[in-house]
Symmetry: C2
Subunit: 346 residues, 2 copies
């Protein structure tokens, strides 16, 4: 009975110490393996720890200012986009393996939400922050500087990062894709994406893409920016919308593979042959691509690795190791067979 009621009360270090007949400090030393105690005392304290079910209060030790926190704040736009789910998975697995915890923030791509989230999460004295994207509200930047903690900006490489940055150069990657499609013979190309999904990276990517296409004598005739998430169905209806108002599009470049898949489904469902009647290119080389009947033309970006590297940079900085604060993880064009081959067009 007495045992039962005591269960709901948190056991503090003092209680453990009292039970073991030693001082709080001795108990603290035992728990941290600091040395400075006899084996007999150690055993006694540990026994009481077990018996009382003592759990240390990290709030107290971090608060005392003597230890750094094990929290890392991670902001991600949304999880409906598989890409970011993969990135987050990479981050959390790596952080978790080194005893750190992820405090999640789904910031929906808006700087205001990000700013609010940053304010809140900073008040918890995190060890560091991993932020998706490179555009932040001015007040957010000020808070981040004041906080003086490690910060990793991911996704879109930032040549002048707040602190560290890892990702790819979306302009270059977009350029490569544009050059490839022009090289395949396409001249009249459309783009289908969403407006609020990684707004900046997608915009940068499209800029690079457009430059390459125009440089090769083609044109990006239409940009369709849906107010939706970058998922299967928006790709489907976005394509419907696009083709309803345009008839001369030869190839469509989508914001990601999920949208590309949705678009391809629309095309085939409406009697169009891919790539015979229309070319399709996606982005991200998502898992879905591995089971498609035709290999989707896409751009491979190692998302899981991106998350892992971001976490590694954070961990290295936290443990005081020297860190390269700028890492390009690269991309690779997947030619696929949803666009015509340049040879076939001779």
């Amino acid at each position: 009975m007495a045992d039962k009621s005591s269960k709901t009360n948190k056991v503090s270090l003092s209680q453990v110490a009292k039970a073991a007949g030693v001082s709080k400090m001795t108990a603290s030393r035992v728990l941290r393996g600091d040395g400075g105690y006899s084996e007999k005392t150690r055993a006694l304290v540990m026994q009481k720890v077990d018996k009382l079910g003592y759990l240390p209060n990290r709030l107290a030790s971090v608060f005392a200012g003597d230890q750094i926190s094990t929290f890392v704040g991670v902001s991600i736009p949304d999880l409906g986009n598989e890409i970011f789910a993969q990135v987050l998975e990479g981050i959390d697995r790596k952080l978790g393996a080194f005893g750190h915890q992820t405090v999640l923030g789904l910031t929906q791509h808006t700087p205001e939400e990000e700013e609010n989230w940053i304010r809140t999460v900073l008040s918890w004295q995190p060890a560091g922050l991993i932020l998706t994207g490179r555009s932040h509200a001015p007040r957010a930047i000020e808070m981040l500087r004041n906080a003086a903690i490690p910060i990793v900006e991911i996704w879109d490489l930032n040549s002048s990062p707040l602190d560290m940055s890892v990702g790819i150069n979306h302009f270059d990657a977009g350029f490569d894709m544009g050059r490839y499609l022009v090289g395949c013979g396409y001249r009249n190309i459309a783009y289908v994406g969403t407006s609020h999904d990684t707004a900046n990276a997608a915009t940068t990517r499209l800029a690079g893409f457009t430059k390459a296409v125009e440089g090769g004598g083609g044109r990006v005739t239409r940009h369709l920016c849906l107010h939706d998430t970058a998922a299967y169905y928006p790709g489907f209806y976005g394509t419907e919308q696009l083709l309803a108002s345009t008839t001369d599009v030869e190839c469509i470049f989508y914001q990601n593979d999920a949208m590309a898949f949705g678009g391809m489904q629309y095309c085939t469902a409406n009697g169009m042959d891919v790539p015979g009647d229309i070319g399709i290119a996606g982005w991200g080389n998502l898992p879905i691509a591995s089971v498609m009947p035709k290999r989707l033309t896409s751009m491979h970006v190692p998302h899981l690795k991106l998350g892992q590297v971001a976490a590694e940079m954070m961990l290295a900085r936290l443990s005081g190791e020297p860190v390269v604060n700028y890492r390009d993880i690269g991309f690779k064009l997947i030619p696929g067979s949803t666009v015509k081959n340049v040879m076939a067009r001779g």
Copy 2:
């Protein structure tokens, strides 16, 4: 210069108070809007807060034991499975809207990892915990009881939850699917899933499914349990594996839609007609289903809502409102057209 160097130092309430020429306590009252100060003082303090860029230290206030934490620990098996990404999104959006933060734990379906994660996250004095699944290590359960904080177990309804539970009855849902497929005329049915993905719920579901199938005169002839994630490609190669050793399977029931889609791709790629030659049924009614040429036979479970409801139960409990501690969010069979209609078999 002096300004710059001071930027990296954290500003404490005492510093604000000193700058404003008032006591720490007065500054504290102003910040919390407690009353007990003049308008003049309030303005003065707030001005200093702005000027110094003061950010409260929540560690301190929560630690002082006077406020409850705004952290909620959320354990999720993995994010490679879209289902859980949706659940997490639902949870975090709802929690975030009410000023709470998600501390993520990817526990990979193992009770040991979950136990370790629980130990760590409890040491941060969270306001509550949301856990996926209903099976926990004995020591984890003990810690959870001792912590005496709100706990929501999600995914698989738990009729005797630790505290609160929300999800669906996977046995019943599996049973419904089994009955449906038998009703379509199938007798020789196979199952393809993964072993460590929501092990318990999937197992329970399969048990219900098997019971219904056998009750209707059919048999679940093969269970293929891959050691992989429940994603597209495992569905593809799992199906290949299954069909290599069996020729009389009439219908395959998959652990989720992603696997089902992968399986369907294998079948069509190998000249089989779906549902002409083989029936395909999935689970979860995932977004991919919305763009498939044939509506996938599946079971709709409102995952985003599941997350939201879990968060709502947590928030209600935290604000002291009365809470129903057991909520069935229901499921709905999607007949689809990847299985034969019973009429067609007449």
